[in-house]
């Protein structure tokens, strides 16, 4: 149910992460997960830029996602879209990328089986 996400992990000075191209999940001020197979160029000589194969994710249609959130997410999702959000969903540390017509749920691979199980259990 969940697919491996091709991504790069980047740790750098916060200003060096601003404006990174592509779909960027800003996990922390100094850390980002950049979806895609290319390693991004980062203007920080001490940056750590590495491939990261440790994420699993699923794209859901908004209605399906809202059903899941209604049962499993006790915090309101931010607007406007697209927007990144992260927090506990279904008691798991989930990263969200919310667009108008689709929603990405991503978790570290170590929780992929749990998220898949909890997604399947939701009507």
């Amino acid at each position: 149910m969940l697919d491996r996400l091709a991504a790069a992990r980047v740790v750098a000075r916060p200003d060096a992460l601003d404006g990174l191209p592509g779909l960027v999940l800003r996990l922390a001020p100094d850390e980002a997960l950049v979806l895609g197979t290319e390693l991004p160029h980062v203007a920080d000589p001490h940056a750590i830029v590495t491939n990261d194969a440790s994420w699993r994710g699923v794209w859901l249609e908004p209605d399906r996602a809202e059903l899941f959130f209604a049962a499993e997410c006790d915090w309101p999702r931010p607007t406007p879209r697209p927007v990144f959000a992260q927090g506990m969903i279904a008691h798991l540390p989930v990263k969200l990328w919310l667009e108008d017509d689709r929603v990405l749920l991503a978790v570290p691979h170590v929780f992929a089986a749990d998220l898949a199980e909890r997604l399947e259990a939701t009507p």
Partner: protein
């Protein structure tokens, strides 16, 4: 056709719209065999077990065909079900609104109309609010399941309940509050000769008894009311003693943005102090019992509650609270507020309580399914699902000692550190001199807190490019990451930190045939002991660390986590001719014990200094300041009182935690123990008290003689690990 449900093995007919209570009353049945019925969900006098669920208020539960209703026993708790069937999950809906209004009456509707984004929950529609939690979070039981609502404000508009009588005879059948009488009459019930007591409003018309209520008389069912003005014979009594705010939920919201409106916010005059009878019908607490605890000094509401348990039953003080307050006032105490209320306000089933909950998710390594496939018994250890054994721990142990074995150590904490201040920061974090670690080399390190106590251990590895890789224990990785991030921020160091624990898998290859195995999968140019380097192993790019936890020739292969299965299977296939067997955590803990390697958290305690665990060699007090240095210097000056030491036992291995005895006195306890095939004896580590200035050499553990020995037990020269 009239529909029916079953009550105590008897068919009971009901009309459309009946609650269970109304139907029972129509059949002449009182569910608790007496006590004033309120029909408002405020008292404990109609509770019963419905379809196996106890403490349901039958006045709030619609009658339905086929229900099985059982009365609660006259005393004690209702019996637990004889069989427990798996219960289907109760659905849950989570909502976020600005305002939750509890109560759908006039004041509740008005409050909702004044506010934006408000939702109203109305008990009349079967929406029972069971608690207000910090947040605020409002939990509601509905016919569709549980609803959890996060909000900015809660408005309590729960109205008022009716005062119950407290006097002799208040446990008779035939007593009804005014609203209850109105409901029953509206449902077509005949109440017979009715007398009203009290000055409150009555929804039914009847004779009104004047004077102050003294008692009810009757045998089982009320037959007369006695007041200061006389005696009135009757078949039913309408109790119209007045209203009290239904404020349990309001009292639950103390300290939260809770607004109370309407009748729930009123402060009516307290009822007269009762002189006799049951004050708390849930707990059968009488006026005499209140007097008894008052005499013993329980003179405040909260103390009265704790001493008698009044207010802790089914109705949570709905009936007794006004009387407890008037009792204290009458006895000379100041007027006291009602006691604090806490969730839950309604009894819930376990399934309702658990709605939306999950078992804690323990992370699984990328090899989890592989372990299951080859028969591993998985266990939750150090915060992870890990293979404890593959079925034959002795064989796993022997494979490491005599042939070759692999183990999944992906759970080890791993962190990259770069930046101009990386070395300076690590110098202050660790008690070792990081500046002397050469590129490509690794060093075992302790992590100390400010008090000089050991809270984790691992490696510091300098990369060829001058950056660093750190490792931590599996269970300590998250805490160590927070520790380092916190200090880096506090010191203002210019560093970049990346926790790679979940990004990298790790496989430990160990045993005297390790080189043969790695050669078979094409690994060349392996690093020297306590070195590390980048090597392709079976075509998988690995960062290879040479170290040894087992005491044998070992390498840890850190690799991209999506290649774990491929690497594991290649090693197993290439190792088959060498007699490879994977090892689980049970074998690993035995192997490391042979070497006297500590497990932080198992062999250490919260006050374990490097000296107490005999790791002074891992602390460099000459290199400059580091976290815990002052504490280490200070505690080193104090005479040693106990130390983590090793024992051998010829007779067997004691259980971990066993007491160590010396001369008939307690002398410590065992932290790790196992029978060691390699040593041919039981081996143990444990905390041993210093006695008369020395550590005893000979002690008794589990009745067996044990000899204190120098660690490690196995291969003290380390020749096998360095082979």
């Amino acid at each position: 056709m009239t529909e029916r449900f079953i009550y105590a093995d008897t068919d009971v007919a009901f009309e459309p719209g009946d609650s269970i209570l109304v139907a029972l009353q129509r059949a002449g049945i009182h569910p608790t065999d007496g006590g004033t019925l309120c029909c408002g969900g405020d008292c404990p006098h109609c509770v019963a077990t419905v379809d196996g669920i106890s403490y349901l208020r039958t006045c709030q539960t619609p009658a339905a065909a086929g229900l099985v209703v059982e009365p609660h026993p006259p005393s004690g708790e209702p019996p637990l079900p004889e069989r427990v069937e798996p219960h289907p999950d109760v659905p849950i809906l989570r909502r976020h609104v600005h305002t939750v209004v509890i109560g759908g009456g006039g004041s509740g509707q008005a409050a909702a109309a004044e506010r934006r984004d408000a939702v109203v929950f109305d008990a009349g529609r079967g929406e029972e609010v069971v608690g207000i939690y910090p947040g605020p979070l409002v939990m509601v039981r509905t016919a569709m399941g549980m609803v959890h609502v996060e909000c900015e404000e809660v408005v309590v508009a729960t109205g008022a309940a009716e005062l119950h009588p407290v006097c002799p005879g208040s446990d008779l059948r035939g007593l009804l509050t005014s609203r209850a009488a109105g409901q029953l009459v509206s449902a077509g019930l005949e109440l017979g000769r009715v007398v009203i007591v009290g000055d409150g409003e009555s929804e039914v018309e009847a004779r009104r008894a004047t004077g102050r209520l003294i008692r009810f008389e009757g045998t089982g069912t009320v037959e007369a009311v006695v007041t200061t003005d006389g005696r009135w014979e009757c078949d039913s009594v309408v109790v119209a003693l007045g209203l009290v705010p239904r404020d349990a939920l309001a009292r639950m919201g103390a300290g939260m943005p809770v607004t109370v409106v309407g009748d729930a916010a009123t402060s009516p005059e307290l009822p007269p102090c009762p002189t006799d009878g049951v004050v708390c019908p849930c707990g059968d607490v009488t006026v005499a019992q209140l007097d008894d605890v008052w005499q013993r000094g329980f003179t405040e509401m909260e103390l009265l509650k704790r001493a008698t348990l009044a207010g802790t039953g089914t109705c949570q003080g709905g009936v007794c609270t006004p009387y407890l307050r008037s009792f204290l006032l009458d006895r000379g105490a100041e007027l006291q507020p009602a006691f604090t209320a806490r969730p839950v306000a309604r009894q819930l089933t376990m399934a309702e309580m658990a709605a939306g909950s999950h078992l804690p998710a323990y992370p699984r390594t990328a090899l989890h399914d592989v372990h299951l496939t080859i028969g591993a018994r998985m266990d939750r250890i150090g915060g992870w699902w890990r293979p404890w054994t593959y079925g034959d721990t002795d064989a796993e142990y022997e494979a490491v000692r005599h042939r070759v074995s692999i183990g999944d150590v992906s759970t080890l904490g791993k962190m990259r550190v770069t930046g101009p201040d990386a070395e300076a920061m690590l110098q202050r974090i660790y008690p070792t001199d990081v500046s002397t670690i050469r590129p490509g080399r690794s060093r075992y390190v302790l992590l100390l807190n400010e008090r000089g106590y050991v809270f984790d251990d691992g490696l510091v590895c300098r990369e060829p490019d001058g950056t660093f890789t750190l490792t931590f224990t599996s269970g300590g990785a998250s805490g160590a990451e927070m520790w380092i991030r916190d200090w880096a921020a506090s010191w203002g160091h210019d560093v970049r930190l990346l926790n790679q624990t979940l990004m990298l898998g790790a496989i430990n290859v160990s045993g005297p045939l390790t080189h043969e195995l790695l050669a078979a999968v094409g690994a060349a140019d392996l690093p020297p002991y306590m070195g590390h380097g980048y090597v392709d192993v079976a075509g998988v790019p690995c960062k290879v660390f040479r170290l040894s936890f087992t005491g044998e020739l070992s390498y840890e292969l850190h690799h991209p986590v999506d290649r774990s299965v491929e690497l594991w299977e290649a090693l197993m296939a290439a190792g088959a001719p060498l007699g490879i067997v994977p090892h689980g955590l049970e074998a690993l803990t035995r192997l490391r014990l042979d070497k006297g390697h500590i497990l932080v958290g198992q062999d250490t305690d919260y006050d374990s200094t490097p000296r107490r665990i005999h790791h002074e060699w891992a602390v460099n007090l000459d290199k400059g300041d580091f976290i815990g240095r002052l504490a280490v210097v200070r505690t080193n000056a104090v005479p040693l009182d106990r130390q983590l030491v090793g024992f051998t036992l010829a007779d067997g291995a004691p259980p971990e935690g066993a007491v160590i005895w010396h001369g008939g006195s307690y002398a410590g306890y065992v932290t790790s123990a196992a029978w060691s095939p390699a040593v041919g004896m039981g081996v143990a580590m444990g905390w041993l008290d210093v006695t008369d200035g020395v550590l005893p050499d000979d002690v008794t553990i589990e009745g067996w003689p044990a000899r204190r020995v120098t660690l490690p037990f196995y291969d003290p020269e380390g020749s096998r690990a360095r082979a």
